[in-house]
């Protein structure tokens, strides 16, 4: 057993479909994330990124291979130390923003004072102070996603899985939210796995970027960025940044073309 925070060995995921042949969505994947590392995943659309997240979190059972978190195998139950922000909007429309954020804390039976303190902190961090009493229906898609991020962060997870959390944000806000995420990562020492379709975001935020192939998604290469821990968004101006994004793009170009052709039906895997 390795001492990695997250360890995947030979993980695949095959979806059984009624009346159709099974769909190989993922793998085989071998991956070790060390504690406190910031790891980004990029890959063509439909390559199995969200599937990878589900399998790591224990929301979906690996068809082969093993997943372990903090040395314990993950099977069917999401470990307590894991926080997940999904690609789709998962805010509860029947709760106000603050009640949404407090939801997990209330489930844990956290006392009111501490809950209020953490919710207030998260509201400020996510720029949602003026919307504490609003409902998700009154927010933009990007703001709803921030509610979901806040709802996860207040639980102070040791492993945070984020699936395109900034997808609905404009470029400037993305950069700023990226800085916030880096601050948070440094402060909490959490391990972060971030799925994104934005190469610059992956390059700017992470220690390593896993580049996935077209479906079934495997890691083509894991690119080390070599950034210092104290980095922020100003890094985009450095020549090394261009080198990293250039490398990511050269790996992804051919795969993205493939994925596009599957989708348009021009070629079959």
């Amino acid at each position: 057993m390795s001492d990695a925070h997250v360890a995947l060995k030979g993980v695949t995921r095959v979806y059984q479909r009624a009346g159709q042949e099974p769909l190989e969505a993922l793998g085989p994947i071998d991956l070790d994330l060390s504690a406190g590392e910031f790891f980004a995943v990029v890959g063509p659309s439909g390559c199995g990124k969200s599937t990878l997240l589900d399998v790591i979190a224990g929301l979906s059972q690996a068809s082969a291979g093993t997943v372990s978190i903090e040395g314990k195998p993950v099977r069917g139950v999401v470990p307590e130390s894991v926080g997940v922000v999904f690609q789709d909007d998962a805010s509860f429309p029947w709760l106000t923003v603050e009640d949404n954020i407090a939801f997990g804390l209330n489930r844990q039976g956290m006392d009111a004072a501490e809950t209020n303190r953490r919710v207030a902190q998260a509201l400020a961090l996510m720029g949602l102070n003026d919307f504490a009493r609003a409902y998700p229906a009154q927010l933009s898609g990007g703001m709803r996603q921030r509610v979901c991020i806040a709802r996860t962060l207040v639980l102070q997870p040791r492993l945070i899985l984020l699936d395109e959390p900034f997808g609905a944000l404009d470029q400037q806000t993305r950069l700023l939210m990226g800085d916030e995420l880096l601050n948070l990562w440094r402060k909490t020492g959490a391990t972060i796995l971030l799925i994104t379709h934005a190469l610059d975001e992956a390059a700017m935020l992470s220690d390593r970027v896993g580049v996935m192939s077209a479906r079934p998604g495997r890691f083509l290469e894991i690119v080390e960025t070599g950034w210092p821990r104290g980095r922020d968004s100003t890094i985009v101006a450095s020549p090394d940044f261009g080198r990293v994004t250039g490398r990511l793009w050269s790996l992804l170009r051919a795969e993205s073309l493939k994925a596009m052709q599957y989708q348009t039906g021009a070629a079959r895997p």
Binding site: V78, V84, W94
Partner: protein, 250 residues
């Protein structure tokens, strides 16, 4: 008042005014229909004399019984059918064909079985309403976004907590639609049954007046039922709007 509301009121007033004129000028004969103003005054007299009390109570109690049973049974049936996909595949076509069955044809059978009391009409009201509740429960459960269920698993919620804290509130708007339809259908079932054959109730009194050429009472009662259903519907509508406003929808 919104423009649409103003228009609706104007159309309604116009229609009533037109009927009033046609009746008053004799274009519509008195033995066919009495003028709306007379319907209203006749209804007022009936209400004032307390003559509707017994029948109204009887009808409303029957509607409440049918409605409660339909909501409970319809919800439970919807939840169970939703949980078992095999049953679902069998039931779905039956449910969508349900309202092509004229439930009233079973009414004589229920009278034979249970006697000429309130039970047969409650059963008819129930049968009319229960499918609407079942269908809308299924619909609501179908539309609970998978990501919300995943979220519940991330919070390590059990079946009960997921059901009460996530699935129910997420499906609530559809359940409310089911309840609204169930109210309308149980009214139709109960009043219709009373009209056909019964020993009392508003529908029975309308039938009685009809057979005795008592237009004043008949139209007064029709007006009364229309008013009653309208008030119930408008209250439900207002309540629904309030619930949606509580979720920030306009």
């Amino acid at each position: 008042m919104k423009l649409a509301t103003k228009l609706r009121v104007a159309v309604l007033m116009g229609a009533v005014g037109l009927v009033e004129t046609l009746c008053q000028t004799g274009a519509i004969a008195r033995f066919t229909m009495i003028p709306p103003s007379e319907m209203a005054s006749s209804l007022w007299r009936l209400l004032y004399a307390g003559k509707l009390q017994t029948d109204m109570t009887r009808t409303l109690l029957a509607v409440c019984a049918a409605l409660t049973a339909a909501i409970v049974v319809g919800f439970v049936a919807g939840a169970v059918v939703h949980a078992i996909p095999r049953v679902r595949r069998t039931i779905d076509p039956l449910l969508s064909a349900y309202y092509s069955v004229p439930v009233f044809v079973f009414y004589p059978m229920f009278i034979v079985l249970f006697g000429l009391n309130d039970i047969p009409k409650i059963i008819i009201g129930f049968l009319y309403a229960v499918a609407a509740m079942t269908i809308n429960t299924l619909n609501g459960l179908d539309r609970v976004a998978p990501v919300l269920l995943k979220t519940a698993r991330v919070f390590r919620m059990g079946r009960a907590a997921t059901g009460f804290r996530v699935v129910l509130p997420a499906a609530a708007p559809y359940l409310f639609t089911g309840v609204k339809l169930a109210v309308a259908y149980s009214f139709i079932g109960v009043v219709g049954s009373e009209f056909i054959l019964s020993s009392g109730g508003l529908g029975y009194q309308i039938g009685f007046a009809y057979h005795n050429f008592d237009n004043r009472t008949m139209y007064a009662l029709i007006l009364f039922i229309l008013g009653l259903v309208m008030i119930v519907n408008m209250s439900l509508h207002a309540w629904e709007k309030m619930l949606m406003a509580r979720r920030g929808y306009q």
